[in-house]
């Protein structure tokens, strides 16, 4: 079976700091924390990539207003 995870190396002092940061948090390991932070950052990056599309949302706004009008809310 193909391995679904890869190993990434980080500086040991940083690892130790992460261990301290996650004490008494909901993260069960530094790996969990790192994966969480990276996913969030990647999500943000994806959001920026699609921002052009989102900012073109004047038409989306029109669509919302149209929907609200059709349903009798406006």
């Amino acid at each position: 079976m193909k391995e679904t995870k890869v190993t990434v190396k980080i500086p040991r002092p940083l690892y130790r700091k992460i261990q301290m940061v996650i004490e008494e948090s909901g993260f069960s390991s530094p790996t969990d924390f790192i994966v969480f932070v990276l996913r969030d950052l990647v999500g943000e990056a994806e959001l920026h990539l699609s921002k052009g599309k989102e900012e073109a949302s004047a038409s989306d706004l029109d669509a919302v207003k149209h929907k609200l009008k059709n349903l009798g809310y406006l």
Partner: protein
């Protein structure tokens, strides 16, 4: 406008080429047929109602929610939003790092789960933490016993919105309600939800709240409820009747809330408030035993739980009300906080008594229920008896 929970409104609905690609790829993915609760959750994650969630919870969020009533990031959140394998499912076919096709109850592809986290559910631990009981009589425990033993977490991409067959004229996404409140010029909006029929006491709470807010969002829950709860169709009809005659049309709107009931009392009150914030609501009415069932929770537990969070963490303001009733002494609605009258001057009927009257075709006193509402409830009760 109030900020969504976590700062931005999530949108996990994919369109265009990305949607086409995922739909094509779905045929070779392992599949899961969602139940009613999960289907509603997919819809509400997709449209941002459950921001900042971008999918079903992973194990870190799940553990933090159970242990701390927070997400792993520290944001308040009190109810696990999880996807379970189905009974008899071989969990090994779902591999972390791979995608899973999610089908609605009718077998239609609705979303893709980008599986990040898979773990074996400890249902007793979850029941005790979230529902505060593991007794089989609790509907939330019954639900846990009905699902598979593994949870699957990860972001989702919604490729097809759920096609609902009811209340479509009342289905607004958070982006819709936010635009609506803005267009109406409402800076403050209070939301009201009950899964019970609306009586004069509820009407009173909403009007008290409207005295201090610009607008009122009546937001009845229309997701899955217990079979002996008043059906959503009937409740919505009651609201329509009330809105037509007893509320100012320019200050009140109704939309439906698609989520399924968890019957988790205090923790669910937190969920209901946070989600309403995502809809652009600034105030949320929390009555007695909100989202409760049987005698599992104390009368004011769902109000007191808000004190477990620091000021400003929730952002949305809970409006907590005492038991209210019609007071014969003053000739108006009041609550145990504002009435000086004795018990015998207060018009109050127990739920059991009201059900009994309605089933027998008796109209409850006008001080308790508006006649238009009573008529709808009597018809519904009689139809149920005939069925």
């Amino acid at each position: 406008m109030i900020a969504p929970h976590g700062g931005r409104l999530i949108n996990r609905i994919v369109t265009g080429a990305e949607r086409d690609r995922l739909i094509d790829a779905a045929s070779s993915m392992p599949k899961i047929r969602l139940n009613a609760r999960e289907t509603a959750d997919v819809d509400m994650i997709g449209n941002g109602a459950m921001s900042p969630l971008q999918g079903f919870m992973n194990q870190a969020d799940y553990n933090a929610v159970l242990d701390q009533k927070r997400l792993a990031s520290g944001l308040p959140w009190a109810i696990p939003i999880v996807l379970a394998t189905k009974d008899g499912d071989d969990a090994s076919k779902y591999e972390e790092g791979k995608d899973v096709a999610l089908e609605d109850e009718n077998g239609q592809l609705t979303a893709i789960l980008h599986l990040e986290s898979k773990w074996q559910a400890d249902k007793t631990r979850e029941a005790k933490a979230v529902l505060l009981t593991d007794e089989d009589a609790h509907p939330g425990v019954q639900y846990l016993n009905s699902i598979g033993d593994w949870y699957l977490g990860g972001r989702i991409s919604v490729v097809n919105r759920i096609a609902y067959d009811k209340f479509n004229q009342y289905r607004l996404d958070p982006v819709d309600t936010r635009v609506l409140f803005d267009k109406k010029g409402w800076k403050t909006v209070v939301a009201f939800q009950t899964r019970n029929p609306i009586h004069r006491a509820h009407e009173y709470l909403t009007k008290c709240a409207l005295e201090i807010c610009d607008g009122l969002l009546i937001h009845p829950l229309v997701g899955e409820t217990k079979s002996d709860d008043i059906p959503a169709d009937t409740r919505v009809k009651c609201y329509e009747a009330l809105m037509e005659k007893y509320y100012p049309a320019d200050r009140v709107v109704m939309s439906v809330y698609p989520q399924a009931m968890r019957y988790a009392g205090p923790r669910e009150a937190i969920l209901h408030a946070i989600v309403r914030k995502n809809y652009g609501v600034t105030h949320f009415i929390v009555g007695r035993d909100h989202a409760g069932v049987g005698s599992y929770y104390g009368t004011y537990d769902a109000q007191n739980i808000f004190n477990e969070y620091e000021d400003g963490e929730m952002d949305i303001t809970p409006l907590m009300f005492e038991h209210s009733f019609f007071c014969k002494e003053t000739g108006g609605m009041a609550s145990s906080k504002t009435s000086a009258s004795d018990k015998e001057m207060r018009v109050f009927l127990s739920g059991t008594k009201v059900r009994e009257m309605l089933t027998n075709g008796e109209v409850p006193p006008a001080e308790f229920t508006r006649p238009e509402v009573a008529k709808i409830l009597i018809e519904a009760m009689q139809q149920k008896v005939e069925a």
